[in-house]
């Protein structure tokens, strides 16, 4: 399955950017293992793979955020043109309160000219011209927060392109479509194609396979830090790409070997409405793992937080363990035996400057208090230390500050924090985001264990593979409604992708 052969740039000229044997090690995990990649002039190369496959590590090395542990990066300087790298990160790095003109930073001020007045007319004309290269011009005088997401992306691209002395540079787009709707993706793709036609090399990082097949001339697949495929688009179809990304041969679907028996209904929601969700019905039984899939913007992200009570939502009826529970709050949810592992570990899942011990015990300290309402530090330490061993946290030091653990071990601590009191309902959002593969397995095991001991589990994930591995059945959200429910033989990665995008058949990919 491995295909290490590299393909030269299509025009027979040396590549603009050439990466050779890139290696990056994180503690306990090799994020990039001998990855090589070339981009030629006029070529759009897509780099695809699951979360944790090494895509973002590669971009971060190129951007200078990480230093590599081996390998070289070469930029061409043919015909006196020094190729430059321009990177557009997922968040674009724009200032939302400033106008399009200001974000484009058209005039480059140096020294005394910093104090000269703007030439507004000239700036506006230049801004129009810059964005005009990518289709219909739009208002550049309003704060960009008022623009459509695709228009903001265009500002980001136009800014990266402004000041190019020649077209033969390399543009790297890191998950640029994450916040875009389907029509806006078209606008962005047209812009990228134009750019390549002018002679630029483009690296397009994505985990959306249909977009990749739409845009790319060549596709590089990363899996677990290794390059497993580097093939022209023409040689690929959807099934083959899926099998490269997942590592499962075409036609063979992977199923979780979970044959748990579902018990009583723990969570029963009717008509949940809020943000983009509209009238979602949901039931989770004890011992059952229910997945929620859907592309970004389908409403998947807000669902667990709405059930938990940290985001407001309207419901027709909501029962937890057979009792109505309409006025929800995190505190009350915890009291009723609900646990929530949020997707954003740093912002919502932990208190980073506090120790692992202080983090795991935070939701429930009562059982650790003794006389006078004081926490028994001795009991707390012992309890935390036991949890560190039980969840295989490395290093198993409960007194270490949370932020100093690696991503995977941080997530193990978060799981220990929520599973220590045996919740009856476990809400999970992207449970293995930014987690190395070893820790991933440990977390899957912990989820399986929780379910087999009677917890009702709801997993919201953008990783189809993960949902297939973990879940008994998966609800697919599309535009705020449940579009499909997949279980048994229907529950495959391909089917999840098809339902997630609302594709009728694979011809449309």
């Amino acid at each position: 399955m491995t295909n290490e052969s590299t393909i030269g740039s299509p025009m027979g000229t040396p590549p603009l950017l050439s990466i050779e044997g890139m290696i990056k090690d994180f503690p306990g995990n090799r994020a990039l293992d001998n990855v090589s990649l070339q981009v030629g002039s006029g070529e759009v190369v897509a780099v695809v793979g699951h979360n944790g496959s090494g895509k973002s590590t590669l971009v971060k090395i190129l951007a200078g955020v990480y230093t590599s542990d081996g390998g070289t990066v070469e930029l061409s300087s043919q015909d006196g043109f020094d190729t430059e790298l321009h990177i557009i990160h997922q968040d674009l790095g724009l200032a939302n309160e400033l106008t399009g003109i200001e974000n484009l930073g058209i005039t480059h001020y140096h020294g005394a000219s910093s104090f000269a007045p703007f030439d507004r007319k000239k700036e506006r004309a230049k801004a129009r011209e810059l964005i005009g290269r990518f289709g219909e011009p739009f208002d550049v005088d309003i704060p960009i927060s008022k623009l459509a997401p695709a228009q903001r992306s265009i500002i980001g691209i136009a800014r990266a392109l402004d000041g190019w002395q020649h077209p033969r540079n390399v543009l790297i787009l890191d998950e640029p479509t994450e916040a875009l709707h389907a029509t806006e993706v078209r606008v962005l793709f047209d812009a990228v194609k134009k750019l390549a036609a002018d002679g630029a090399g483009v690296i397009f990082i994505s985990h959306r396979l249909d977009e990749v097949l739409d845009l790319a001339d060549r596709v590089v697949v990363l899996r677990d830090g290794r390059k497993v495929a580097d093939e022209p688009r023409s040689d690929l179809d959807h099934d083959r790409l899926v099998s490269y990304v997942t590592g499962i041969p075409v036609g063979e679907a992977e199923h979780g070997e979970n044959a748990r028996r579902a018990g009583e209904v723990v969570l029963d929601i009717k008509g949940l409405t809020g943000e983009i969700l509209e009238g979602v019905d949901l039931q989770v039984r004890s011992g059952e793992v229910v997945g929620v899939a859907g592309v970004l913007g389908s409403g998947r992200e807000a669902l667990p937080a709405m059930i938990y009570g940290s985001i407001d939502a309207d419901v027709e009826s909501f029962t937890l363990d057979g009792r109505p529970y309409l006025k929800r709050s995190p505190r009350e949810s915890i009291r009723r035996g609900t646990a929530f592992v949020p997707g954003d570990r740093a912002k919502f899942g932990s208190v980073r400057p506090m120790t692992a011990r202080e983090n795991v015990t935070l939701p429930e300290l009562k059982s650790l208090t003794g006389a006078g309402g004081a926490i028994s530090l001795k009991r707390e330490r012992e309890h935390a230390q036991t949890l560190m061993q039980e969840y295989d946290v490395k290093p198993p030091r409960a007194e270490q500050v949370f932020a100093q653990f690696s991503g995977g071990n941080q997530q193990k601590i978060v799981f220990a924090k929520w599973l220590r009191n045996r919740p009856s309902l476990l809400l999970l959002e992207e449970p293995t985001q930014g987690v190395d593969i070893g820790a991933k397995q440990a977390i899957y095991d912990a989820i399986d264990r929780a379910a087999s001991t009677g917890a009702a589990v709801l997993v919201c994930s953008s990783e189809a593979k993960e949902l297939v591995r973990l879940c008994d059945r998966v609800l697919v959200l599309r535009d705020g409604r449940i579009a499909a429910e997949l279980a048994g033989d229907e529950l495959t990665e391909t089917q999840l992708v098809i339902e997630g995008y609302g594709l009728k058949s694979e011809d449309e990919l």
Partner: protein
Amino acid sequence: MKKTEAIQTVDPAVADRGPAKKNGVLAALSFRNISAIYIFVVLFAIFAIITPRTFLTPGTWLVLLDAQSITVLAAIAVLIPLVNGVFNLAIGAEVGFAVILVAVLQTKLNMPWGLAIAVAILIGAFIGLVSGLIITKGKIDSFIATLGMSSILLAGLAFLSENRQIIGLQDGFRLFATGGLPLVPDNPNFKLTNPVFIMLIVAFIVWYLLERTPVGRRMYAAGYNPDGARLSGVNVARLQIASLVAGGIIAALAGVLLASRINAGDPTVGPGLLLPALTAVFLGSTQFKGGRFNVWGTVISVYVLAVGIKGLQLLGAQNWVSDLFNGVALLAAVGLSRWERTAKRGSAIKRATPKFGRGK
């Protein structure tokens, strides 16, 4: 799926890496952990050598201990909200307001002094409550909210006092702050005064609450990461309000003690406490608990700063030296705690530019 085994095996050298447990005593005595105590010793030695006559007398020390106990109370009133992530810049005005209030209640309303103290403290709690509601319900940043509150209180203070000293307080009231436990029989000047005891009691209670109870744990969590704490079931807004109420009570107590000590309602004495209090809290956060705001670090820091100023004054420095000293110390303390935090994170993420080569 066949490749996963190779990646799952974690290099034992990497997994078990990390500093072996340091000698606990050495770590506790390291300069980084208790730098203020070392600075204290150095300052003490310097001033003892230069001005032994005045600096080394027990009188100097007892006066310092007594006078600064009120600064400690003000600092603790800043500390509690700060643990919750809330700045209280109104602390000086809160103390000053209580100074005037307790005097006005006695002189103009002829209230018995015990009742006057109780009312002043109650109003202090109310001021904290209002600040807390403005910050949590009104969603106004604590920095701005307490700055505004400070200005309002200063106006109220000027209105009540008509910018004059209020004298003629009750005799019993004066003893509230000046009474104490004599150390030497027959010499009333050598004693541990009531404010010192009150300060120690308050410090102990606050230490207990912050470091030993679930409430304190939740307060630290709320201060470090309000969103994360909320999702862990912490009622962040309620804790922030409570912290400002507690701060208001302690600030009022400090104001009452101050009025009793000077035996007058002086409108000028309270506002000056903001800077030393804030400085001590930040300097205190670099002590004992490695970057965490804490009570005993704050207490020690108040006295270290006071000793430095006292020594300089004994050397003949002008009064403005205390402002200078506090200002420099505040910048140094915040810089130090920032440095501590970044240095601790160590090399979790290495930031550097990759080496780019050029092709032919």
